[in-house]
């Protein structure tokens, strides 16, 4: 799947409103580039200082980047900041982009996002509101929902306890549905190294979640 030319889900609305102040054109279009300009074309315009092209590209890629950042950071506010910072790097680095067809913009962007997330996780943590668990629903009919939420919490915790690179590999390959080759590019590793991280992560997760077996019968 070539993400560079695929419109992202729910991006249409965001693209329309984010790009609107800069458009002399209908939202989502760019003078001379047609209704769905590719990433390379937009990057060429951004390199010339075109804000509308920047808004379109940012709105196109922000949702996936935000999802990735939130999975890695576990915090929506931090994820938004990281993606915003990554987008600014797109603005300053667009002139260095070489559209040779080998590298996909989304892979490059996700690499930047992952690196920024890793940097942010190494800072002293601030316990924001996102870290406070929601109060449980007291109604008896919610027992099953609560049990499922409890299991999901245990899984999240097990994921969070993985070593950083294992967690990144799992996030990219299992949750972001990236291939091992893509994940290897994003993490600046070989494919076999990514496969090794995934295998170790699965072993660790299985060991940590062994207690869930009796409760759910899932493992």
């Amino acid at each position: 799947m070539d993400e560079s030319v695929q419109p992202q889900p729910r991006v249409g609305t965001a693209s329309a409103s984010a790009a609107a102040p800069y458009a002399g054109n209908p939202a989502g279009t760019l003078m001379g580039l047609g209704p769905e300009p590719g990433d390379d074309a937009l990057l060429a315009r951004i390199a010339q200082g075109d804000r509308q092209a920047f808004a379109l590209l940012a709105a196109r890629h922000a949702p996936k980047a935000m999802k990735l950042a939130q999975r890695v950071l576990g915090n929506a506010a931090d994820a938004d900041e990281v993606v915003q910072e990554a987008m600014l790097r797109v603005w300053t680095g667009a002139k260095n982009w070489i559209p040779d067809g080998r590298a996909r913009f989304s892979t490059w962007l996700h690499r930047v996002v992952v690196n920024l997330c890793v940097d942010r996780r190494r800072r002293p943590a601030f316990a924001g509101l996102d870290g406070i668990p929601e109060p449980p629903d007291p109604t008896p009919s919610a027992v099953n929902v609560m049990a499922r939420q409890q299991t999901a919490k245990l899984v999240s915790q097990a994921l969070a306890e993985l070593p950083e690179r294992q967690r990144l590999a799992v996030t990219l390959c299992y949750y972001e549905e990236r291939s091992a080759a893509d994940a290897a590019q994003i993490l600046s590793l070989s494919v076999s190294a990514v496969e090794s991280l995934l295998a170790r992560a699965r072993r660790a997760l299985r060991a940590r979640l062994s207690g869930v077996v009796q409760d759910t019968g899932e493992v």
Partner: protein, 187 residues
């Protein structure tokens, strides 16, 4: 794992594959998927392996997907747009090369940096250095003017000027500065 032909796979291959990618064939690498799926249909042990790994996949899938609303995306994009002016615009960076003098520190900056460095590394030395600099500055500003006149005088007149200058100088900073001036005039 990736350096061989995958026309056929056995149970060990399936075990290695699922240990990395789990039990969902959609996640398996394309070069191995077809042969692995064929093996599943024929090998009960391989099928059992996949089912076992799929249970862990099911647990992992219980983690809620982050919700990314259109409003959040708008906010991030708008925030990035608002910050563009604070970063170097690509076109502007090419059009207007930086002036060298923008990056050269002023003498004041050098003094300030030196003082701050001293005050951090050796607080007492910082105070002493600051007091010395202040004293020199005061001395320069109150330096006697006698040595500045009479540049074209004769040798005898120059000797007079020397005497006058030496007589006028009473403080240490002035002595430091006037001796050089007197010698210049004496020549």
């Amino acid at each position: 794992m990736a350096d061989r032909e995958w026309s056929t796979v056995d149970v060990e291959d399936i075990a290695a594959l699922t240990a990395v990618y789990g039990g969902n064939p959609a996640r398996w690498p394309a070069d191995r998927r077809a042969a692995a799926v064929r093996a599943l249909a024929m090998d009960g042990a391989a099928h059992e392996l996949v089912v076992n790994e799929a249970r862990l996949d099911a647990l992992l899938s219980m983690v809620a997907e982050p919700e990314i609303s259109a409003a959040r995306v708008d906010s991030v994009v708008a925030g990035a747009l608002a910050r563009l002016d604070a970063v170097t615009a690509p076109a502007a960076a090419k059009a207007a090369p930086h002036k060298l003098d923008t990056f050269l520190p002023s003498p004041f900056d050098l003094v300030r940096t030196a003082l701050s460095w001293l005050s951090v590394r050796a607080p007492q030395a910082g105070w002493l250095a600051g007091a010395t600099v202040a004293g020199i500055l005061v001395g320069v500003m109150t330096m006697p003017s006698a040595t500045l006149s009479g540049a074209e005088t004769t040798t005898a007149q120059a000797g007079t000027a020397v005497e006058t200058a030496q007589a006028d100088v009473t403080d240490m900073p002035s002595l430091l500065f006037t001796s050089y001036t007197v010698e210049t005039h004496a020549r």
